[in-house]
């Protein structure tokens, strides 16, 4: 590797040795695996998410099943032994942060997933106390209530961010979905509410239908590079206009994807699907590809290229806007092969 190439980047005020951040995934549930991810070259790890609903659900489930059927019959007043303690609530998660911090040299970013302003918000403070270098607030919400208006949804986001911001002093990134009427305005408001960074975008796992059982089933499809286009566009649009760091989190699979992300303006590019698909060693493959490409193209540093293709800088800014859509439709209609999907 050419030592002259400087891959360093700054994300949420954290100095990262490269933009390859490992995003919240099942792989970050185990400290040994996290260590391997670090060894493969990732520059920071976002822990798997602590879910508001999961904590509530686990607590209620445990209570329900330990109580169910008890004190009903003379012979069996209960059905389970009482353990001294259960790791419901954030304790296990916090312990993992502590272990990860002890085991890893790279920054560890906690991840909290919730949509309300309930008591769970205090977990943000606990995550900070456990030693997390930063916190990613993952707002994963599908507003299905017909009575709930767009402004109400937006305000819920803002309130949630502000509530979490009030709990912590560590850098705060907010991960959102792209479905806002006014994404740019929303980004601005999130910044005002206290976000230091925006992570674009949450992928909604869309359920599938099982035609045999006629049931709705959860279905996980790993991302493809193609999916990066949406966050790529928005990072490029928002870069320089909203004063936060950006991270791209959907569809980062190759060093080309990383390059595109950085050029759009991202400080960090987050890769999960590709690592799940190809293994942890894929991180080093991407990093090496990145270096090779930069060497070939004679780039000296990541900093040098960051935002270089953002809307502010490209020759044709309308490419990111509605004109791009019209251009695409045109090319579709003129597909000479007739075989495009």
């Amino acid at each position: 590797m050419n030592v002259m190439i400087d891959l360093a980047t700054s994300y949420l005020g954290l100095k990262l040795k490269n933009p390859l951040v490992h995003s919240a995934s099942p792989l970050s549930e185990n400290v040994d695996t996290m260590k391997r991810i670090e060894d493969a070259g990732s520059s920071a790890i976002v822990m798997h998410s602590l879910f508001e609903e999961q904590i509530t659900h686990e607590s209620r489930q445990l209570d329900h099943y330990l109580s169910y059927g008890t004190e009903s019959q003379a012979e069996a007043r209960s059905y389970f032994p009482e353990a001294n303690s259960y790791r419901v609530g954030p304790d296990g998660y916090l312990e993992k942060i502590r272990l990860a911090k002890a085991a890893l040299a790279i920054p560890v970013i906690g991840s909290l997933n919730g949509v309300s302003r309930g008591g769970w918000v205090e977990y943000a403070r606990l995550i900070q106390q456990a030693g997390a270098d930063a916190l990613e607030l993952n707002i994963y919400m599908l507003p299905t209530d017909p009575e709930m208006s767009g402004p109400e949804v937006e305000q819920m986001y803002i309130d949630t961010v502000a509530a979490v911001r009030a709990e912590v002093t560590i850098p705060l990134a907010v991960k959102v979905a792209p479905y806002f009427s006014a994404m740019a305005n929303m980004a601005k408001r999130l910044e005002s509410a206290g976000a230091d960074g925006l992570v674009l975008f949450n992928r909604f796992y869309q359920p599938d239908f099982d035609l045999e059982q006629l049931e709705v089933v959860p279905h996980l499809v790993l991302s493809t590079s193609w999916e990066m286009r949406l966050p790529l566009r928005w990072v490029a649009i928002l870069f320089g206009r909203v004063d936060v760091d950006f991270a791209i989190t959907s569809g980062v699979h190759s060093h080309e994807d990383v390059l595109k992300g950085v050029m759009a303006g991202a400080s960090a590019t987050m890769m999960t699907s590709a690592v799940l698909q190809h293994g942890i060693s894929h991180v080093s493959v991407v990093r090496d590809g990145l270096v090779r490409w930069m060497e070939e193209k004679e780039y000296a540093s990541i900093a040098q290229m960051r935002g270089s293709m953002s809307q502010k800088h490209v020759k044709e800014p309308t490419a990111f806007e509605r004109a791009n859509y019209m251009k695409m439709l045109h090319s579709w209609q003129s597909d000479p092969t007739g075989f495009l999907p």
């Binding site: 209620r60 209570d63 009903s72 019959q73 003379a74 012979e75 209960s78 389970f80 009482e82």
Partner: protein, 1226 residues
Amino acid sequence: MPQVTNIRRKRPSPPAVDLESREAPARATDSAARSNRPLVCRDGNEAAAHVAYRASEVIAIYPITPSSTMGELADEWAASGVANLFGAVPRVIEMQSEGGAAGVVHGSLQAGALTTTFTASQGLLLMIPNMYKIAGELTSSVFHVAARSLATHALSIFGDHSDVMAARQTGFAMLFSANVQEAMDLAAVAHAATLTGRIPFLHVFDGFRTSHEIQKIDVLSDEDLRALLPTDAVRAHRARALSPDHPVIRGTAHNPDTFFQAREAANPFYAAVPGLVQRAMDALAQRTGRAYRLFDYVGAADAERVLVAMGSGAETIGETVAALVAQGEKVGAVRVRLFRPFDARALIAALPPTVRVVSVLDRTKEPGAAGEPLYQDVVTAVHESTQEGIAPWRTPPVVVGGRYGLSSKEFTPAMVKGIFDDAAQQRPKNHFTVGIDDDVTHTSLAWDPAFSIEAPDVVRAVFWGLGSDGTVGANKNTIKIIGEETERFVQGYFVYDSKKAGARTVSHLRFGPRPIRSPYLIEQADFVAVHQFGFLERYDTLALARDGANLLLNSPHDPAALWDKLPALVQRQIVEKKLRVHCIDAYSLAREHHMGARINTIMQTAFFALSGVFPREEAIAHIKTSIARTYAKRGDAVVRANHAMVDAALSHLHEVQVPDARQAPPGAGRRERPVGSFVARLLAGEGDALPVSAFPPDGTYPTGTTRIERRNIAQEIPVWEPDICIQCGKCVMVCPHSVIRAKVVGASTTADAPDGFHFEDARWKELSGMRYTLQVSADDCTGCRLCVEVCPARDKSNVARKAINMRDRASAGAPRAHWEYFLGLPEIFTPEEGGVGGLHYNRVKDVQLRTPLFEFSSACAGCGETPYLRLLTQLFGDRLLVANATGCSSIYGGNLPTTPWSTNAEGRGPAWSNSLFEDNAEFGLGMRVAIDAQASLARARVRALRDPADAALADAILDADQSNEAGVAAQRHRVAELKARLRSHDTDAARDLLAVADTLVRRSVWIVGGDGWAYDIGFGGLDHVLAGGHNVKLLILDTEVYSNTGGQSSKATPLGATAKFASGGKATAKKDIGAIAMSYGHVYVAEIAMGASDQQTLRALLEAESYDGPALVIAYSHCIAHGIDMAKGMTQQKLAVESGHWPMYRFDPRLAAKGENPLQLDSSPPKMLLKDYIYNESRYRMLLQSNPEEAARLLDRAQAHVVRRWKALVRAAGRPEDRTIAGAPE
């Protein structure tokens, strides 16, 4: 003869006893109990276990009600690292039976460890052989017994002294505690005295009444216990241990020359025990102020009538005596604490010299004896002391004996008064009973039920709840709050019914300024809460309310409209008794807080708000603190939800305006005593009032009685959608309570159907033109939803709508008339030749048209066991004998007043019996050999009576092929004809054949039980029965845990599952009982799971039945003790199979005989990881949540075990191993 003196050896001497010490310090007073030491709320089991645990190094256990809690606590404490007095954590070891536990105790004692055990009832009986040994070897140990009835004409889990009285001859000392404090104090006395005196002790307290009663007590500290337990005696105990460093032998065999003398050699040790016990009691008194004597007298110094009793009954007697003496009566009572060795002198010394009549009460029955044990001892003591001239009287008192309180029958002050009244008669009745109406042999004493001695300053509260609503838990919590946050003394006792689904609970709580000595139910309550509105219709809930009492109702109705919703009787009672009525809609409130049916916190808050025990604000604070303490472990969300319910409860509590008396509805204001059959009286809660003559003397009862119960416990019931139904029968197949049934009838039969009764065209090609119907018995449904979950047919325009869906009971229709009409429809599927043909026993869809002969059991809603039993009766019910091991299936199968085993239209059906827990395989084998013997005899007699001129019938009978159902049916016709002919022959030969002729029709013996029986306590017998080659069928309803006694680990419990006695996750794999059985080669073996394949289940049962030899069927039975959503039980069964945890197979020795591989694997290779099955269940998730590292370790091992077992099965089945196994670590 050799000179004995020459070989006399140095003898171990019994400890010296200072007889003066028998003059004990002053009696304990209530004020002594109220020292500065903090008092806490405990039940008797915990009180005894507290001491036993601390004084022991090895604890061998086996679950049996009502003592299981002691073992469970010991196990939990050990798992938490609680140390004993010696600074170590005791080894707690669960055994396969009480016999096994006693063996471990014996061995552990021989090797020098301080050892204890806990048991009751049949468990104690199984320990008796070892008890003789332990006592015979003068070995210090204490067995703590929550005394319980023995199974005689029936099993009973409730309390009396039959069990310990059956062990009184073993040489164990016997010390009786009468209340919760004593259960702790005398436990310590027993542990101390056994160490000093070397005689082992039974420490006895009354099952349920003391074991389960919560009282506020002083807990002995470790310092107290250390001070009581003599360390030199502990060292001496260790020094007597078997050791290769100073070897001796014990357990030798003696000959006639030596045994007798050696047996007498222990006498001095027994003689020393009373003094040692008194010394330990005195030491305890010095530390605690609570003084006890071997025989404690209370009452008038010049009493003329004295009662003698032991156990909790003595509390009631003591309390009543105090009240009667205050009224000037010359009565008294002796409480017996040390029953063995019986210190006659101490008893005589305790009796006042003025006594004229001694009435001795035994809580046991010894049929045929000259009298019950305590009575006989008192007679002997009085006689001998008089004879020896040491008695204080000139004329010895009259001694009479009586029985009371068998199986926790209530024993009240009114009964005590009745006994005293009778003792005042010229000739007091001897060998009496009290508390029942014996109109057969006229033993019972009369007593006045209106007599009451309840103190006015004691608050009495009664709560009617449903098992699932948390009432009992809330009340335990209330007791703790009041008992530990105020100066008041408390008492809590809980009455459960025998149903597993829809169980009713009644909580009896007392609060007062003095220790409460009233071990009997409340009859005049100051506060009555009815937590289920429906109870107002079904039970006389207000009978226990005193005038002016507070009534709290959980009501779904608007407070303003509530009065009109109350049953007339309740209205009358409210008006007449001038009750203050409050209501709260707790279910709505709980639902708002996502707490389902858990109304405990809400009702508790309402109780505190109304009872005025604390100012409201203070009460709220206490409840909230208590909630935080109780639920903190389960997470903030639960604490928050409960706190929110507390806050909401007060604003939803309303007073109900009661019209004045003039507007109250007319009427007697008392519920009429129900008139009806024996069973109906029991169902109405009138059992206590039934006289002896109402009962069969031998424990024989009719079957088919659950059908008259109509319990109405389901809020929602399944409703059939004929337009979607494909008539597959799966809902009928899985219904645990046989409330969903299908029939096909001829089109002409349907003409008289009631309005709204629906038929569809039958979807059988064999039954074209006929009509199909599916009906639900709404009265008997438990609302479990298993049927809806398995229904495969969905509405093509709305997939949420299936062919069967749950609907609110009120809107569901399903009138009883429809069900009655349905029951009257003829059954199409009969095995008779010439019946409607084409239906097959090996098709689920077809078999579901057969009438089940197992219905409406009291099993849990969604039970995984009962569908197998029901199927068994659909297949072979009319010729079935069932030997049922004790456990869930014997309780829901045979707990009076009703039984689900029923009969078909011809009156035939399963004949059922339960012997014991440990001997069920042998019991069933006994049935088999009896039938075979009678069948052989019958055949011989048929041959002998065969008339060569008219031999067709005899030959047909003798040569009958009964290998299929049609053959059996044909034989039944022949035997009926034979019997008809025999009846016309007035000869002994004809009568002899008639007596056994029925056995010429093939009979099927199924031996049924749970995994506790099959894998553990009954395994020896099961193994032997399989090995013997007899034609018996064994069905294991494998829930992988002791379900009936509350979730203790069995050898069927899987690796990694949490259970009681395996709190840290079971570290060893489940026993492969199928593999063991297959190893014989001649045993038909099948592992089945209805939820994974109903077809395979059906096939296995048919093959097992048809096999002329032993068959073992192991049936996966999901269970409430798995911690699952019971509606998903069948889904979990499927996952158990798909993950490889429960491979389905059939091993048929008949195939081997044909040269084929006998093992047929019926499942596919595991296609999912074990974790995706097990982590749906709390029994596994608990470990994941309490110790994730250990859970991960055990999961790895469990997954590897699954793979290994699967591969072994594949190899054995000769299947190619070319398919992969999901997640298999290679």
